[in-house]
Subunit: 424 residues, 2 copies
């Protein structure tokens, strides 16, 4: 069954308000088996609302609107919809009683302005709003087209959609099951990933039939790439089974890049790996300037495995706090494998942790030389048995370089814990 | 001139990704004099994209799309649009050269998949993408209908819209002068700010006339609040002059909260203050876990004034690296004024910088006690002449607590440099 969202409100189109209602609604509807085909935002005026409804009813069966139902002048939605569906406004006693009670509970009385909220379109089915004053209307157009109007206040919208409307939708309409599985990868780009699993992707497409629909989507970020498998169809068990098969086949193929499934973030996954090994971590950061420490400590409970960091931005801190020798810096520079190795050894000695990570590089835009251009970095991981060091170079903005350096440091730690070589 | 946004991507309609592009784009377009009439989201398939374009071209002159332009299979936008506008894909040498350079800078070569990105619709005007691989296309339909396609990655979308597309739109379509001035504040909330300058705001509104339009907008973030003055009208000099007057009046009133003007970020302003004083800074971070260091080192050239940090996440690091005494921790706890003062003294001694900042607190969601609940924090700043310490408590999510603790630490440094007391 196809649905669409109609977001009503000038404040969305002016950029004053970030619309978070659609995100909540699409996610909830999808998880309950209803696909959302379009999200359309329209201003608080009759013409855009009418035009938007004409368009959406051409595409889908059920339109769910949010916003435009308050008592103030700029909200003209109710009158517009009453006209659109060829009906009229009448006083609804149930709504009026509930409105009186609601206002009384807040020490207020009904005035002319909020009394308007008890006027409802005669032809619409009306649902009381348990968390606010604007009731919900369910309009019908012919036999197959439905419009359900929700308030725009996120708290009200969420409660009503989840507790009232979705249960009624499920009861009234038979629906398809939609399921999703997510594979989280790091250390490989979107297009390399796509080439590696091209045949599996073709197989997924070939599995589409009349009653079933499968799809693989790439959701890249700066660093990790999420692979999202979607399956749709009547037979819930069959869909779940096929998705699991696809997931396993992909995960096996790109095994060494997979750090988790579902919505686990990369620093969270690293934290879980450390925790399950009873291992601890400390960092010695130069060019990443505390960003690795921040990524790790952004996870609740990270004090279980994370001890601390020396952010050695100035060379004197590398020398005094990490034991990098002045001769090494003079001979090889602070951005060198030799300096990195001494940072790793110094951090391991200072913190006594299972693992240490270290970075030294040039995040840019200044500070580059012909031999050590902007974007160059040495990254290393060490434990009691040895260390791995890598040289890399990126050609990005400062913030992106810092982010990528840090993600790669965490990926080197992941690989060291799993015994996967960095060139594998 | 009427515009609309077309948001392309299954990840938006499935509820997996929160669309923040529309919010950025509508706000930027509005501030530059273009109204946004509709925002429409459509899936990554030919039919919904075509249907959406037909609808939007019925309502507006300029459609700006985001998303659907990556190199992988699930992105079919380019082919769909090429068909829709009745043209064909041809290899564009400029795009191909730029793509090769871009990939080479990342140590990669052109493969069959990403080579596709150099294929462009023959009839479209093509703009190179300076921050990614997907170029921007400007399609025309008849004389008056335009489609401009932007990538979906927020960083790329924002840069291209702001730096390339909006300037071209203004050049091609507008005649009014629109000017903006921004005042950056920290340490005062949006509503307190509004009450403090209510009379100035009224004066700004009263200045509106037929030919001139003035507006003050509050753009709050978690921490700093930007005050944005907009002026629109035919007489460029007059508008500029009035805006300057308003700016000066506001800046004088809220002087002790102003850290800068224009687009200066707060860490950038702090950096400039340190630089102009030939001062240096080091940090000792417990609950902020390296985030203050990251904020400071996210600014290019910060190595001129920033020396480094001890992230003392574990108590043993506070003891061994910062000289906090075990007795103090046993008696008062790590989250206490006594521990904070020893952290400050220890950091000052270790790093020998002009200033040091330190934090110790409970970011949550775990780790709280009845006496020291989640969100409690001690923050301090010190120099050779003494120290200031503050206790605060917030009731937010972990990441937001960490962010606010860090902003307040930087604000305490700003106030210490300027000689403004923390309770002023």
């Amino acid at each position: 069954l196809k649905t669409a969202l109609l977001i009503i409100g000038d404040e969305i189109l002016s950029g004053d308000t970030l619309d978070t209602n659609s995100h909540f609604a699409t996610s909830l509807l999808r998880n309950n088996g209803f696909s959302v085909e379009h999200i359309l935002a329209a201003g608080d005026r009759a013409t855009p609302i009418r035009t938007a409804l004409d368009f959406l009813f051409g595409q889908v069966d059920i339109v769910i609107s949010t916003g435009g139902l308050g008592p103030t002048k700029d909200d003209i939605t109710k009158q517009t919809l009453t006209d659109y569906f060829g009906t009229e406004l009448v006083l609804n006693d149930n709504v009026y009683e509930q409105l009186k009670k609601w206002l009384a509970g807040r020490g207020r009385e009904v005035n002319e302005l909020n009394k308007q909220q008890a006027m409802v379109p005669a032809a619409a089915e009306t649902f009381l709003n348990p968390v606010g004053t604007a009731p919900v209307f369910w309009f019908r157009k012919g036999d197959n087209k439905h419009l359900i109007t929700l308030p725009g206040v996120p708290k009200e919208m969420r409660h009503i959609l989840q507790e009232i409307i979705v249960p009624v939708l499920k009861e009234r309409f038979t629906h398809e099951s939609i399921q999703q599985l997510t594979i989280q990868t790091v250390g490989i780009g979107e297009s390399d990933l796509a080439m590696t699993i091209e045949d599996i992707e073709n197989k997924i497409e070939a599995a589409n039939s009349d009653g079933e629909f499968y799809k693989l989507a790439y959701l890249p970020t700066l660093g990790p790439v999420r692979l999202q498998l979607t399956g749709k169809g009547e037979d819930e068990n069959k869909i779940r089974h096929r998705l699991e098969e696809f997931k396993n086949e992909i995960a096996e193929r790109v095994n060494k890049y997979v750090f988790g499934y579902g919505s686990t973030s990369f620093p969270e996954a690293i934290g879980e790996m450390l925790r399950s090994r009873n291992a601890t971590l400390a960092t010695a950061e130069s060019c990443t300037g505390g960003y690795i420490a921040h990524l790790i400590t952004s996870i609740a409970g990270s004090s279980d495995y994370y001890i601390g960091s020396v952010v050695s931005y100035a060379n004197e801190v590398k020398v005094h706090e990490l034991g990098v020798s002045e001769e090494t810096i003079a001979q090889h520079g602070a951005v060198s494998e030799a300096s990195l190795k001494q940072m790793l050894a110094g951090a391991l000695k200072k913190f006594g942790t299972t693992y240490v990570l270290a970075t030294t590089g040039i995040a840019g835009p200044g500070g580059g030389t012909p031999e050590k251009p902007v974007g160059s970095v040495w990254i290393g991981v060490a434990d009691g048995n040895g260390m791995n060091c890598r040289y890399l170079r990126f050609n990005r903005k400062r913030e992106e370089n810092i982010h990528l350096f840090s993600i790669i440091a965490l990926d080197m730690l992941r690989r060291r814990m799993l015994g996967i070589a960095n060139n594998e």
